[in-house]
Structure formats: C-alpha cells, structure tokens
C-alpha cells in the first residue's frame, strides 16, 4: 500500500511510537507568537526548564496585538521578546519587522516541503501549502515542542479534495475553500489531513494555495496540504538556490513527498468549480456558506481586508481592482491590514495602497488585530463586517458583532455598495 504525503512526512520524522497509533514526531519548526507562548515560557521557568531544543528551528513574532494596545499586551510582547533574546532566537520579529505569523514565516523561506511544523495557533495548517505537515497546537504541545522538539499526533488519515474545472472571473481560492468547507462541514475533517489536489490547485499561486490550506481547520482538519511543485520551487528559490544546482533538481527532490498513486484516503471529494460563484458565510459557523448573490443587500458597517487568510499581495491586488476609481459607501468603515511589511511595501510601490486610500480605507500595520476582536477594528454590538478572514463565530470580531467571510474582491464590492455584493454585479 502506498503512502500519502502526510504519511511520508510522518515516517521521515518518527521519533517514537509510545503506544500503537500515537506518533511522536521530530519537529523542523516550532513557531511562536505572543498570545499562546508566554504561558509556556512561564511554565518552563516554573519547572526550572527554561531551555529551547534548538534556537534555529524556533521562530517567533509579535503579531496578534501590535504595537501593544495596553499594559497587558505590552507584557505579553515583553515576555516573548525577552525569551527570544536570552535563548538566541535570531528569527524574532518585533514592531517594524513583524507581520501576521502565517504570512510572515513562509515569506521568510522558513517553511519547506516535507517539514513538520507546529505553532500555538489553529491556522498553522496554512503552511501545508508548501507540502509540509503543519498543525495548530495548544500551549502545552508548544511548550514540549520548545523544550524537546517533538509533538505527538494520531495516525495521519487523509481526505483527498480534488479540484477540477475552470474558475470564473472574480471567483478565487477563498470561494473554493468556503465551498469545500460547506461540503465537509465544520467537523468533517476532524483528525484528518486535507490534501488539496487537481488542476485548479496546480494553477494557483502560493498566495492562493495558502488561502486554501489556511481554512482546513474550519472543517476540523489537522493540516491542509498541497503537493510541492514548480510554483513551490519558484517561491522558495531565493532561499534554496545554494542547496540545489537547479530548480529542476529542487523539484525532483521535493517530488519525493508526493503521495503514491495507490495511497489510501479516508474520503475523496471531487469538486468541479466551473459553475462556482463567489461565496459568503452566513450565521456563526464557517460551513454556513451560500452564493454571495443569495445574501446580497445585507448591510455591512465595516470592511476588513487582511489576515492570514487573505492579507497577501495577490489578495490586495484583487481588492484594488474592484476598488479602483470607486469609494466606500457612506457610513462604511474600510480597514486594510497588509499582512507583512514586505506586502505593505510592495503594495505601496505598486500603487495599491493609494487605491485603498482613495476609496476611503484606513490602512493599519500588519497585525491579526480585528480578525479575533483584539484590536484595530473591533465591532460594536449589532454591527456587521464584510471580512476576508477565516472565522465567523458569534462575537469573533467583537461581542454582538456579525462577520461575513468572503473573498477580497467580494469584500471590496460590499464596501462600495454598503451591502454584501457580488463583485460581478458592480
């Protein structure tokens, strides 16, 4: 029997199988941010084990609330900053260099095909876009990861999502993943890895693939994962060009991770996206998904473009194309948070930020901020937000607030009209 990509990565990283079906893996990356790491650090100190297994494999960023909004968030940042300093964690990103973790770390070339990655953040599944096994974990798993460089998982069982067809104009990877989550349900992929394949995925940029894998957790998935290919190699080439004589050699090496033809899947979901329309969530669960046109005319008070789901350059470009020459509807607040300094700069140089500003948007620094109602755009009770983020739980962006998840183009169109709007209907 052949192996899936996840099974191959597990086999290559297996440290221990303490019980049948429990796999303790060696970790290539332990990623940290200032919300879930400080308690791990405090616990390690309390246990008199304030050590790290390998400072080069640990990367840290302050991203959820930055710059600090109050004394408590300042303390969280300081705990992470001091810890990174005393353990020689060179790749620590603070104000000025920081961005949303799942955007910043791939951009720095830290994520490679075949890697095992954990972080105390559920959207760590994003990194699977590079052909890595990447899982969100809690603080205790993070703590053990920091100390020992290992993490335990159950046997990897995969769901294959095959995406075929031709995406229509203004229909993008966000629409595809919302549609996939609708098919799987919010716990349809629990204890499963979602392997995204097919010609539509092959044709996607890394930015678009990361939007797919980012939301695997919204179907309960342990990780989303894509096969590494030419697109992956091109993205990573600046970081790996010393390791391989040519791109072809890199591709040949990465291809060893591809699932075998006779690999076994728990479920295969075949999707043809040719007729797929722009998608949007309603209600408080990410599997409550419908066509944007079926929710149109629903008022929004705020538009939020950014986050680890859709704060990348391609996302900003897609929104800017819609916004160009147009302005936000009266009374609608627009917030753009480019997800990293690099994206911020590129968007500035390409004139994208100007388009947003002309439309009436406020542009904030890169941060998770409003997505989870922590800062920079929290909703008041009764307000609604057209958001490019990944979670529409009740109160997510602020107690009593409503979140409609959608693509950057749909969010932009909704801001212009002041109501949920299909970008094709402008």
């Amino acid at each position: 029997m052949g192996q899936t990509i996840a099974q191959k990565i597990f086999a290559a990283h297996l440290r221990d199988e303490p019980f049948e079906g429990t796999f303790v893996l060696d970790l290539d990356r332990v990623l940290c941010h200032e919300i879930t790491t400080p308690v791990a650090i405090a616990d390690l100190q309390w246990r008199q084990k304030d050590r790290v297994f390998d400072p080069c494999k640990i990367k840290a960023v302050i991203d959820h609330v930055t710059p600090a909004k109050d004394s408590k968030t300042a303390v969280q940042g300081k705990i992470l900053r001091d810890w990174a300093g005393r353990h020689g964690i060179v790749d620590f990103f603070d104000v000025g260099q920081n961005g949303v973790c799942h955007v910043l770390f791939p951009e720095k070339g830290f994520i490679r095909p075949g890697f095992t990655v954990i972080m105390g953040d559920s959207h760590t599944c994003t990194h699977g876009a590079f052909g890595a096994f990447a899982a969100g974990v809690g603080t205790t798993d993070l703590e053990v990861g920091i100390l020992k460089g290992v993490c335990a998982f159950r046997k990897p069982v995969s769901i294959l999502v095959n995406i075929a067809g031709q995406l229509q104009d203004q229909v993008v990877s966000k629409d595809v993943i919302l549609y996939v989550i609708k098919q799987l349900g919010v716990n349809g992929a629990t204890d499963r890895v979602i392997e995204f394949r097919g010609p539509v995925v092959d044709a996607m940029s890394m930015d678009a693939r990361m939007t797919l894998t980012n939301m695997a957790i919204e179907a309960g998935g342990t990780s989303g994962i894509c096969w590494p290919d030419e697109v992956t190699v091109d993205y990573l080439w600046p970081f790996i060009s010393d390791d391989y004589p040519s791109k072809e050699a890199a591709l040949a090496d990465f291809s060893k991770w591809h699932s075998d033809a006779d690999a076994e899947y728990d479920r295969v979901l075949n999707i043809d996206v040719t007729d797929l329309q722009p998608q949007v969530t309603y209600d408080y669960k990410p599997d409550c998904v419908m066509n944007v046109r079926d929710l149109s005319d629903t008022p929004v008070d705020q538009v939020y473009i950014g986050t680890c789901t859709n704060g990348r350059l391609e996302d900003l470009q897609q929104a800017a194309e819609v916004l160009k020459g147009r302005t936000l509807a009266p009374g609608v607040r627009g917030i753009l948070s480019p997800a990293s300094p690099k994206i911020f700069r590129e968007a500035m140089e390409l004139g994208i930020l100007g388009v947003f500003m002309d439309a009436g948007f406020c542009i904030t620094n890169p941060t998770c901020g409003a997505c989870l109602g922590m800062s920079n755009g929290v909703l008041a009770p009764g307000e609604a937000c057209a958001a490019t983020s990944n979670r529409n739980f009740q109160g997510r962006m602020g107690q009593g607030g409503m979140v409609y998840l959608m693509s950057p183009a749909t969010a932009a169109a909704s801001g212009i009209k002041g109501v949920v709007t299909d970008p094709r209907d402008l």
């Binding site: 019980f19 303790v24 809690g138 020992k148 335990a152």
Partner: protein, 176 residues
C-alpha cells in the same frame, strides 16, 4: 497527579460550541490561568444557560454534543475549565486541538456515542445529574432523580497515560 474526575454536571445542549464561546479572545491577554476564572463560557448564548449562574459554578463536569471546542487552538479554553474545577467533559466528539489540550493538561475528554449522550440529556430533563468516573476501568456512572446510568468509554492508551502522568509535559520530560 491525583485528580478526582466527576461531580455535578452542567448540560450544554448544542453541537460546535467553539473556543471563542468557551473563553473569548478579549481575555487572551491574560498570562495566568487563574485570571481566566470569571470568564468561562461568557459568550455562550444558549437557552437556559447562565454563564454567571449557580449551575456552572457548582459544575465539575460538562456534558455536551458534537465537535466541542472547535476553532482556535487556545489552551485558555481547557484552562478556563480547569480553574473552575471542571476536569471532565463528556461529549459526542471534540475538535482535535481542544481534545489534545485537555489530555495534555491531564484532564479528561470523554467521547460517548450519540445515543448515550441522548440518555444523559434525558436523565437531566428530570433533574440534576452527578457523574462518577472510574478512569482505570473506563467506566462512568451518571446518577440523578433516583436513577443510575452506566457507561463504558473508550480512551486511547496515550490519552490515558497523559491523564495518569498529569499531562504531556510530565510524560514527555520523562521520556524524551
């Protein structure tokens, strides 16, 4: 760690109760578990449920439906349970990260089939319910209104070992 599992139960009759409902993100700026104590389930809106009520205050066990703890990876969710004396959750199913966080903290996330969960909810319809858990035998007894219901529950050997060890840090530190 010698922890007692069981006690008075609170029933949350909904699937997909998420981590934002268990502990909202606005409290994630706390850096101690104890500080989370007043905020458990603060954002959960569910008929008859009062996050500040006596039933939750007395509870040592939560009984609920499918996919409990979905959403964020925040271990603040099990911690908020822990600092409120709730070491046991009985559900039809869990989100992976939440379930792992429970065991990693040396707490119990017990999974029962839908029919058994239904029986528990039916018992609660008649009055308050208390649960006794026998970890070694993987059995639990729910009693209330003069009746007793008995269940056996599955527990992966690793998860059981974590509960016995007091959590994943203890287990991992002894082994790796």
């Amino acid at each position: 760690m010698n922890r007692t599992f069981g006690g008075p139960a609170i029933f949350l009759d909904r699937s997909d109760i998420n981590t934002d409902e268990i502990i909202p993100a606005r409290y994630l700026t706390e850096v101690t578990k104890e500080a989370l104590q007043p905020y458990l389930l603060e954002d959960l809106t569910l008929g008859g449920f009062d996050p500040r009520g006596e039933v939750l205050k007395q509870a040592a066990v939560i009984v609920t439906r499918k996919n409990f703890g979905c959403g964020s990876s925040r271990e603040h969710a099990p911690w908020a349970l822990e600092v409120n004396g709730i070491y046991t959750v009985i559900a039809e199913g869990y989100a992976r990260i939440f379930r792992q966080n429970m065991f990693n903290c040396g707490m119990l996330a017990i999974e029962l089939p839908a029919a058994d969960i239904d029986r528990l909810f039916a018992l609660q319809q008649q009055g308050s319910v208390a649960v006794v858990v026998d970890l070694d035998q993987q059995r639990l007894t729910a009693s209330g209104s003069g009746q007793e219901l008995h269940f056996e529950f599955p527990l992966a050997p690793f998860d059981k070992a974590l509960v016995k060890a007091g959590g994943w840090v203890e287990f991992a530190d002894a082994r790796y």
